[in-house]
Symmetry: C2
Subunit: 432 residues, 2 copies
């Protein structure tokens, strides 16, 4: 591991140097110092000035990187690496070879593979952020929230139904819902399409993704009739992406560290489940699927959530410059400001408009600034926006995957600075 680290540190050194150099050049990146001066009340005219300067610098800069393919198809949250680098050793985990070897984390818990420390930090985090009620809930840990989506489908479908349970979500919906519902041709459940047009009698499962992937809007159930079971996918219900008006209080909510902290490679998600019977069936699914969830990953996730919550509790104090959510909020705000400025420089593209809301966590009115940009090609000559952008070496995910027109694409806003800047450059160049 030490060798690996030395190698990795060497490899990363060049990247870090480049990222920071690039960052200074464009004035795009937060640092502890800058952030303290800025704060949530950063004046609008200063912002406009900075945006203008950055855009000028983008269009006047050299042709550097024009050959590079920018992959913004996946929501790979590498943007957050820099924050955790700045936090130094505080989130470093040390796991001895003889540690956590057993399958079992906590045999007294319904969820026997849940690390008690991870559960503790999940509860602490939700309490600090105020984005979910954890009282009266069973925590079920999963190998990412993907596994929990499948566990929920298994748990909520009757085992002896005469036909598969319908699974719906409002378009544009997360592109994985249809394929996850159908790839095993399960007799328990199958994909029934857009919740708006769903009119079949009988029970169904509705995924309510809020804020929504891909378009970022706040969502509520669309079918909303008897016999429906709701699964709230709250992967993006965090202050950097959307105002937090109140704690979510649903029967079954899903979260994931990938989008909360950026640790996608750790593959850890969690469900808050009201009904013990549903929780038991989800646990059974995970037993049969992977015999529990990596304990190492849970320990690492616990450490990261612990440090994150520590910085969050300092929120508003003199140490607030370290707050993960404040810093990430400002970074997302700056990215969205730059993206909107680039898009508004021409007429080829458009972005959704969001209504601001009061965020009880940040104690101010904030704008939604989603993890994905839901871009529309407004040009009549462009039928397929994904193909069009691919021609400019920008990989995105087209509207058809989300059940809507190919005029739309979903673009990750969470990539490393260097790719985000290249993306803005290309967008500016396309419109110039």
């Amino acid at each position: 591991m030490r060798n690996l680290l030395v190698l990795s540190l060497a490899l990363n050194l060049s990247l870090i140097t480049r990222v920071f150099f690039d960052g200074e050049k464009h004035g795009l990146f937060f640092s502890v110092e800058n952030q303290k001066q800025r704060g949530p009340s950063f004046a609008a005219d200063k912002e406009a000035h900075a945006t203008q300067k950055t855009l000028q610098s983008l269009s006047s800069s050299s042709q550097e990187g024009t050959e590079k393919v920018i992959n913004l198809d996946h929501g790979d949250p590498t943007m957050y690496e820099k924050y955790w680098m700045m936090m130094g050793e505080r989130t470093t985990v040390v796991i001895p070879g003889w540690y956590s070897m057993s399958y079992f984390s906590d045999i007294k818990n319904l969820c026997w593979f849940l690390e008690p420390e991870f559960a503790k930090q999940v509860i602490r985090l939700h309490k600090a952020v105020g984005n979910a009620v954890t009282e009266g809930r069973h925590i079920v840990v999963g190998t990412g929230s993907s596994q929990l989506i499948l566990a929920a489908l298994f748990a909520l479908s009757p085992k002896d139904g005469s036909e598969p349970m319908s699974v719906v979500s409002t378009a544009p919906f997360y592109s994985s819902y249809p394929v996850m519902s159908n790839y095993l041709k399960s007799g328990l459940y199958n994909w029934a399409g857009d919740a708006r047009s769903f009119n079949k009698e009988g029970p169904y499962i509705e995924f309510v993704t809020s804020p929504n992937n891909p378009d970022g809007f706040v969502r509520h159930s669309m079918v909303n009739r008897t016999g429906g079971i709701l699964v709230h996918d709250l992967a993006y219900y965090w202050p950097q992406y959307t105002p937090i008006p109140s704690p979510a209080d649903h029967d079954l909510s899903l979260f994931t560290v990938s989008k909360a902290t950026g640790h996608a490679g750790t593959r850890i998600g969690w469900a808050l489940v009201k009904d013990a019977e549903v929780a038991k069936k989800m646990i059974k699914f995970i037993e049969l699927n992977t015999i529990g969830v990596s304990r190492d990953s849970q320990l690492r996730a616990a450490k990261i959530l612990e440090v994150l919550t520590n910085t969050t509790e300092k929120h508003g104090s003199s140490d607030s410059g370290e707050s993960f959510f404040e810093k990430s909020y400002h970074l997302m705000a700056e990215r969205w400001r730059l993206l909107r400025a680039a898009v508004n420089n021409g007429r080829m593209f458009s972005l959704p408009d969001f209504a601001p809301g009061f965020c009880h966590f940040l104690q101010q009115e904030t704008q939604p600034q989603p993890a994905f940009a839901w871009l529309k090609c407004e040009d009549d000559a462009v039928e397929d926006c994904e193909s069009f952008l691919r021609g400019h070496k920008i990989l995105t995910r087209g509207g058809r995957h989300f059940g809507v027109s190919p005029k739309y694409v979903r673009i990750s806003m969470l990539d490393r600075d260097i790719n985000f800047i290249l993306f803005l450059k290309r967008l500016s160049k396309i419109q110039s």
Copy 2:
């Protein structure tokens, strides 16, 4: 994590003290010193003498622990903790907070979520042990071999078949195969029972588990006709459990760290796959199931396999006292000797008899000494051996789960010393 470690170390101290004390008392445990003297050629009369002494000490010892339920239902490999404790910090992993955050481990690899270091150590290990051909194979990493079993079912079933593909294995078969094949009521595959009596026309998937779980015998395909696709589950094909005559050379073989090194909580397995198209489909399954495999766990597993292989390469040298496989082989040999002595003390139980074989790794003839004891209740009055032993506070898994008579039970041989000794005491007491 440091707090966690301090807490854990404190908690474990009492356990370690107890285990080592208990160990010295019964002369059951290896230490680097003892092992060097013993070696594979330990004289048979010395063994018999030691066994006799231990059994005497068991039956004459106090009633300590008679109330404790011993859970030997699962194959939880906690026996190996002590070896990794002895290895000290060599297998400690240190993972900084900013490390391996991306979903992607290696975008150039077919298996984009496979850590290159893990792949490297898998190849090195198989080469050192000589238990599998890795040349011309794609390595697919999974969240334990359970996920790879499901991935193989998905990959090997036609997507447009008129009916589900039959899945078979020879009884007694791994108890999870039927339920894993059926729990999602998949239209792609379903369980078709004992391979011996399978006579349906058309294609099928046969799981060949060798050495077999639960009974420990070496296995070959039983159906063996055209249209069959074999999946070799080689979780136990390691020198501590069975002689290694030659490297396995199959189309699709599965391995797991749980049984190789004892790190069950890490949830890492791997498949060696000949056909790139099959590998691609398995990778697709894991994408849809969990979007890859925890990178933290792969890094930890890589470190453990690296150290393990280092000790293995020293095999035969003056440092061979550290060899994981040698030490584990001797520990299993001692446990099996004690178990057979306890069983042979009466007429209530019997165990399978195995033919010895030449182990090319240990360079000597060795006995199979499986990870599970496949115990039969020979007493006519006992119809259900699982219930009978439960009455004596020993939890096991009954034959019905494995497709055979309830006169049989599967008993884990991999628990901590303290539980294994208690189990022997109870068995002796039942027969006395």
